[in-house]
């Protein structure tokens, strides 16, 4: 598989996953907004910071309010991580990859993009927004299904899955962190039922509520939720699950030593984390550390598979020695 194509496939998957998870993040916020405890307020500025987009936002908008932040996250093309931007990038990448991906996958991505583009003006109304984003998430699942069921699980497929799981685990940590954006009055204790409801919103946005109730802690409270979304081995959006998947897909690729090493560093760090009874500040620090580790895994993959030949250029050409037959 061509290095350039591997990179395109990988990024296409990341953009699709980012679009879905940004949609989930937004739905999580909408839940949270509806359930805000008396006296609490929502920190829109904290939200853009958690998403890692505060600088960009400040350049584009004069003030943090719901309409601005939502437009910025959903349909603003100045924000390269907005849902619409992600879909545009994913579609562009997909267009370059028509020879690699099953035809139906391209058609589905193309349709999703066109539908989102048509409806992106309506997203300032909460009810419409919800419908539009849920439709996008459903569309994303049908792409995932098409790729999983109609595409050879070849090298290109491994890169798709790598992109997906790296992006997904990163986004899960960010969605967990939106809790930090809820500003509660000092007298309220963390296990207040009203605050617990906020965690229900986070779980639901990741389609994790039902599974948490079956497999997680008996009550919905912060320690249990964070622990579940980071460490659960069976829920497909937890960081732990994603890392296991990354490992298994990396194992299918040649020359994977350095990427696997970066992965295991992350594994060990997460195993060592005590996630119960965390202060919000420490929780944020832990989540940040996981994001940095994921960035490191990405760098190793990019270095080994995408930019390998650039590093070779200028030096001696490997010539026929490294040529692969067949």
């Amino acid at each position: 598989m061509l290095s350039r194509v591997a990179e395109n496939v990988y990024w296409m998957a990341r953009y699709l996953e980012r679009a879905e998870n940004t949609a989930r993040l937004i739905n999580a916020i909408s839940h949270v907004l509806l359930d805000l405890p008396r006296g609490a307020s929502f920190g829109w500025d904290v939200l853009t910071r958690v998403a890692g987009l505060d600088q960009l936002f400040d350049e584009a908008y004069p003030s943090h309010d719901e309409a601005n932040v939502m437009r910025f996250l959903v349909s603003d093309l100045r924000n390269p991580s907005s849902v619409l931007s992600c879909m545009q990038f994913a579609r562009e990448n997909c267009r370059r990859l028509r020879d690699v991906l099953p035809r139906e996958a391209w058609e589905q991505v193309n349709t999703m993009y066109l539908a989102l583009q048509r409806s992106s003006a309506r997203i300032t109304r909460r009810a419409d927004r919800r419908r539009v984003l849920e439709e996008l998430i459903r569309g994303r699942h049908s792409v995932a299904g098409l790729l999983s069921e109609c595409m050879s699980h070849d090298v290109a497929y491994q890169f798709i899955r790598l992109g997906e799981y790296i992006e997904r685990s990163d986004m899960t940590t960010r969605i967990v962190d939106i809790h930090a954006a809820v500003l509660v009055p000092r007298q309220q204790i963390p296990e207040d039922p009203a605050i617990a409801l906020l965690w229900v919103g986070v779980l639901k946005s990741l389609s994790a509520y039902q599974m948490y109730r079956r497999h997680g802690f008996p009550q919905v409270k912060s320690a249990g939720v964070v622990n579940y979304l980071v460490k659960d081995a069976h829920f497909p959006r937890s960081v732990r699950f994603c890392l296991d998947e990354i490992e298994s897909h990396l194992s299918e690729l040649p020359h994977n030593t350095s990427s696997l090493r970066a992965l295991r560093t992350t594994d060990r760090r997460i195993d060592g984390m005590k996630l119960e009874n965390l202060s919000p500040v420490l929780r944020h620090e832990y989540l940040d550390a996981i994001q940095a580790d994921l960035g490191h895994i990405h760098d190793e993959i990019a270095r080994q598979y995408f930019h390998f030949h650039e590093q070779q250029a200028g030096g001696e050409l490997p010539g026929a020695l490294q040529a692969v037959a067949g």
Partner: protein
């Protein structure tokens, strides 16, 4: 300035051969529904492909027209809407560059197919094979012995003035002696029904993917028609293309590694490049993905190191192919590609230098070329052509500028063309000056009246002009597509079939019919 899809491959606008008589058929007021009634079809004075004199359907089109007449209007509009939606979903697009941005436009497609009886097609098919066989013998001769020049059948000064002759190719014989592996031949039909070759596209002809997609669209829109009519399938093309390319592989016994070399996603024909790679299971590569090793073999840069490439189907022009040999500033090509090709380490289709026969002056010699190499009469005639390099013909051209079309030999996309009947006296005078200054570079042809076919316009059918581009493949064997890509001038009064300028396309049916 828009840049259209089809001009990229060095081709043609057809506006020079049109006469303006397309009438738009409008629905009479006060009718809630209407049907496509043949008796109201506004015949022009061109040859119509589907409707004969007296509005009698031609035998091959009888079943189709009867079916359309029986279809009620809402049904037709429903199917048209379904097809339009499918085009958007399937992402069948062509790209126009405008103000530095590239815009994807949906592929304009007309629902009414163009129909041709198989008996007629078989003759055309033979003619196309004959023509490409002769052209390949000609190209190979030019780069080697030049017998045809020594025998004074082809003038040395025409060869000397050829812009597409590549001296880097002299003395080389590619496998099978074939240079132009893929040829898109433009055919037109004049008022009297005669089919002519308008030009041979031997560099990087495009459009075949649209031919294949058009058929898919038609099958989904009118499945019942495919049961009723005996329409010959077109889907064999990509398998034939694969076989043709595989035969060029320098290594035997293995599954050859075939790459489609594209200039990239911003090229207007990118859709087609990726489509063909996908259909053949080949790798779609850009220049940066390839490298020529110290062993002169071509490699592609994979995640697992370098992998040898056996055959390159290139979709970039000669000039950009290899900065070591041609334009040094090319960022699209591969350094050392020509070296590798000349050493027989890689097959390239079309071969570099094949464009020497894609020249409007060389075109005029094709009937002689066919007789010289094959000792046969041409099966499909050329449009009569006057070469300005010959004194008597030049004088004829200069005194008939108001009725002729004057074309420069090497320009593509219709640049520098003078359409006599449409030109102002000043334009004609300028043209005469250019012809006198550089006679080798000009030729002229009479203005033809392109044939028409019924086309959906508003609520009814109106005749619109069209041409036909079949694709011919040659390496170890020779193959012609069943039919080809029919391009149609969709806009009323517009006479240009280019997709960017209101041109569209139709499905092309070759059917069993008794004439």
């Amino acid at each position: 300035m828009g840049r259209p899809d089809f001009q990229i491959d060095g081709d043609d606008v057809l506006d020079h051969i049109f006469s303006n008589h397309a009438l738009c058929y409008r629905v009479p007021d006060g009718r809630a529904t209407m049907k496509l009634e043949l008796q109201k079809y506004p015949m022009g004075n061109a040859f119509d492909e589907l409707v004969g004199p007296g509005r009698v359907p031609r035998p091959a089109a009888q079943a189709l027209l009867r079916y359309l007449e029986d279809l009620d209007e809402s049904e037709l509009q429903t199917r048209r809407a379904a097809v339009d939606a499918a085009i958007v979903t399937m992402g069948i697009t062509f790209t126009i560059y405008s103000d530095g941005e590239n815009i994807d436009r949906a592929w304009p497609f007309d629902l009414i197919p163009r129909v041709m009886p198989r008996t007629e097609w078989q003759r055309i098919e033979r003619g196309l094979k004959q023509r490409l066989t002769a052209l390949n013998l000609f190209i190979n001769d030019l780069y080697n012995e030049q017998r045809i020049v020594r025998d004074a059948v082809f003038p040395a000064e025409v060869l000397a003035g050829s812009r597409n002759f590549r001296k880097q190719c002299v003395g080389f014989v590619p496998r099978f002696g074939v240079w132009a592996h893929i040829c898109g031949t433009d055919l037109v039909r004049d008022r009297d029904g005669t089919v002519y070759v308008l030009e041979d596209n031997l560099r990087v002809p495009s459009g075949v993917s649209y031919m294949l997609e058009n058929r898919l669209l038609m099958k989904s829109a009118f499945p019942e028609l495919f049961e009723a009519c005996r329409i010959h399938p077109v889907d064999g093309y990509t398998a034939q293309l694969y076989e043709m390319l595989a035969a060029l592989s320098p290594r035997s016994g293995e599954r050859p590694v075939i790459a489609v070399l594209t200039p990239g996603v911003y090229n207007s024909a990118y859709f087609e490049h990726s489509y063909l790679a996908q259909q053949m299971g080949a790798d779609l590569v850009e220049g940066v993905d390839l490298v020529v090793g110290a062993d002169d073999c071509v490699y592609m840069k994979t995640i697992d190191g370098l992998r040898r490439v056996d055959v390159i189907y290139r979709r970039i022009d000669d000039d950009f192919l290899d900065p070591e040999t041609f334009r040094p500033d090319s960022a699209l090509g591969v350094c050392g590609l020509m070296r590798s090709w000349r050493k027989g380490k890689v097959g390239i289709a079309n071969a570099p230098g094949a464009g020497v026969a894609d020249d409007k002056v060389v075109y005029a010699f094709v009937p002689k070329i066919i007789r010289y190499y094959l000792d046969e009469d041409p099966i499909i005639p050329n449009v009569p052509s006057y070469l300005c390099m010959n004194d008597s013909e030049r004088e004829f051209v200069l005194s008939n500028l108001d009725t002729l079309v004057v074309k420069p030999a090497n320009e593509s996309g219709g640049y520098g063309m003078m359409i006599g009947p449409h030109a102002s006296p000043a334009e004609r005078a300028q043209c005469a000056e250019r012809v006198r200054a550089d006679p080798r570079n000009y030729m002229a042809q009479p203005t033809l009246t392109l044939s028409t076919a019924p086309t959906l316009v508003g609520d009814g059918l109106a005749p619109r002009h069209l041409d036909l581009r079949p694709f011919v493949l040659q390496s170890s064997g020779i193959y012609v597509t069943t039919g080809g890509l029919t391009r149609v001038a969709l806009r009323e009064g517009s006479l240009v079939v280019n997709s960017s300028q209101g041109g569209g396309s139709k499905d092309t049916w070759i059917v069993e019919a008794t004439d």
